[in-house]
């Protein structure tokens, strides 16, 4: 993007206008949208799918919208990058990682004329929206499939960091697995990274060597799945359809789809109707879907489809009670469900998940 004097003047005008109307953006004829990505666009997972969403936004909104994207931004560099984007005219900035949530909360009040959107964040501000997908719905289906596929009755889970998003995903996988076979067990390895292909592969090796024969991953590279393929066990892809990396091992992937949301939010900026929001889209929202089931028998496929459709229709709820913590204390009794805030704050494993909380 080039910065012309006209653009600077435009930016200044928008700034003055927005200052008069704090929080509420007003209609604009043109818009520059900033994107800050945690990994490289080519991670073939999380960041790739945000890039796909950005391109979708440009395609739909055409000339009225431009985008500036900065990839592989480490959280300590966040403030600098966000300020730079704001200075060069981005009026809407998507900060696409949970690792950016706290930095975004810190920076947003200092840039009141820029609207922020944080992916997987947990609270809003007058100029900060949060958006996320209910990936746990897909994890529940993965748990069901894993229980059908596993001979050793042990799932291996490659986890990134012990944050609620990952913890409730582990719980949900086990919920799904126990619905098929209450004997299912899980082993968890934390690799302390969202993206480190060789370490992710080493973690997969360790889990397979310890007898896990279905690998779930909460990290972004296709390395674990590729290794599962090599070692003759099964696995699930992350963020994008990873079938081609593991033609013999791939079962399904959660496939993220941010494009429609980005279109909607950029359009709201253009129309002047942007308001801070909290969107948590499930399987029925189109924010993510499950990649076509592969390496499964027709019966397994139809069962997985039935569960997926029940979750999308709201007849099956992954966070249905009774839920108890590892030490046996009850969280909610049968007949109740966790609220969204309770799900987002989940920092305990369920009773029966035989893994130490880090």
């Amino acid at each position: 993007m080039t910065i012309t004097r006209r653009r600077t003047i435009q930016g200044a005008a928008a700034l003055a206008g927005a200052a008069a109307l704090p929080g509420a953006a007003q209609a604009q004829s043109r818009l520059n949208v900033g994107f800050i990505l945690i990994g490289p666009v080519g991670d073939f997972g999380w960041s790739t799918m945000h890039d796909v969403g950005r391109r979708r936004m440009l395609e739909v909104l055409g000339d009225r919208v431009t985008a500036t994207q900065v990839e592989s931004v480490a959280p300590p560099d966040f403030d600098r990058v966000a300020n730079q984007l704001a200075r060069t005219g981005s009026r809407l900035i998507f900060t696409t990682s949970f690792s950016y949530f706290q930095p975004t909360v810190r920076v947003a009040p200092t840039l009141p004329n820029v609207m922020f959107e944080n992916a997987t964040g947990t609270s809003t501000l007058p100029n900060l929206s949060i958006y996320n997908a209910r990936f746990y719905e897909g994890r529940y289906v993965q748990g069901v499939i894993a229980a059908r596929k596993s001979r050793s009755k042990t799932i291996g889970y490659i986890a990134s960091f012990p944050v609620p998003e990952v913890i409730h995903a582990i719980n949900t996988v086990m919920r799904g697995a126990w619905s098929v076979d209450p004997q299912m067990k899980i082993r968890v390895v934390w690799v302390s990274a969202w993206f480190n292909p060789a370490r992710e592969a080493d973690a997969a090796r360790a889990l397979i060597d310890q007898g896990c024969d279905v690998i779930c991953q909460h990290t972004d590279s296709p390395a674990p799945l590729q290794l599962a393929n090599e070692r003759g066990v099964f696995g699930f892809g992350q963020a994008s359809d990873m079938t081609r990396f593991a033609p013999r091992a791939h079962l399904t992937s959660n496939v993220n789809n941010w494009g429609d949301y980005y279109v909607e939010r950029a359009r709201a900026m253009l129309d002047g109707t942007w308001r801070p929001g909290d969107v948590w889209g499930g399987l029925n929202s189109g924010m993510f879907r499950l990649a076509p089931f592969t390496n499964m028998t027709p019966e397994e496929t139809s069962e997985a489809e039935r569960i997926r459709d029940a979750i999308a229709a709201g007849t099956l709820h992954p966070f249905e009670g009774p839920i108890a913590r590892q030490d046996g204390t009850e969280v909610i009794p049968a007949g109740q469900r966790l609220t969204d805030d309770q799900i987002r704050a989940q920092n305990y494993f369920y009773r029966g998940v035989d893994v130490a909380m880090p």
């Binding site: 991670d43 082993r187 893994v355």
Partner: protein, 305 residues
Amino acid sequence: MTLLEAILLTVITASTPLLIAAIGELVAERAGVLNLGVEGMMIMGAAAGIAVAITTGSSAAGVAAAILAGMALAAIFALLVLGLATNQVAAGLALAIFGLGLSGVVGAPFVGVPREGIGKIAVPWLSEIPFLGPVLFRQDPFVYASFALVIGVAWFLGRTRAGLVLRACGESAAAAHALGFKVLRIRFLALLFGGACAGLAGAYLSLVLTPFWTSGMTSGRGWIALAIVVFASWLPWRAVAGAYLFGGVTILQLHAQGAGVPVPPQAMAALPYVITILALVLIMRARGGGSAAPAALGTPFVPDR
């Protein structure tokens, strides 16, 4: 295959890229040149390796391209620090950043292209030895290459006249020069060797360990290789110990987590670094302090001035 054998196999594959890169850097540093750009040369090797392997369909061509890419970057570095006698630390850091950036450009068309990894080759007869056979002699060609490199370098540095001359350049460039040796040429060759090894280590990542390309996939392994050279006090055999200690602790902590050992994963993740530093401290205490570094390490040499 027993669990122990499986763990050892994984330890060897995790340690091999560190070892190969460290051996190359060790030779360059013994000649008196500190090249901090290992990470950059390594990732260029990874990018060039998979790019050529995918384009030509030949893994061997990919490996050759990786070696050449590492050498090309080393040659640029040599131009700066030997030809222009610039500061080696600054030039090395620049090389690391340059390599990371350039590899992203080179690799861009190959993002998300899957490829079968290079397979393992069992050495006939040797691989039948109980326990040791499956662990040591049913490996991929890179592991054998790393064995050969260590033996070759140890022999070269310790037992040959050329090795002695190379070490002389690292201890006192002026003295070597006074004896009529071409210090800059020797250092240039040592740097090229270091680049070739770093490129080879990169190819191991993108062609064997995780056979696909993503930018930044070396994830700091080049820096670890640099640390291993120091850890090894510039001795090839100790580099083996350093690389396998680091790789071994990395893998064992993953296994410990999988087995449910109740230690925080953050502490586990830091363990390889802690153990390496601890071992370094113990070695230095046993030696009674003092530096084992080549005396002229990092000092530019300008003949006849």
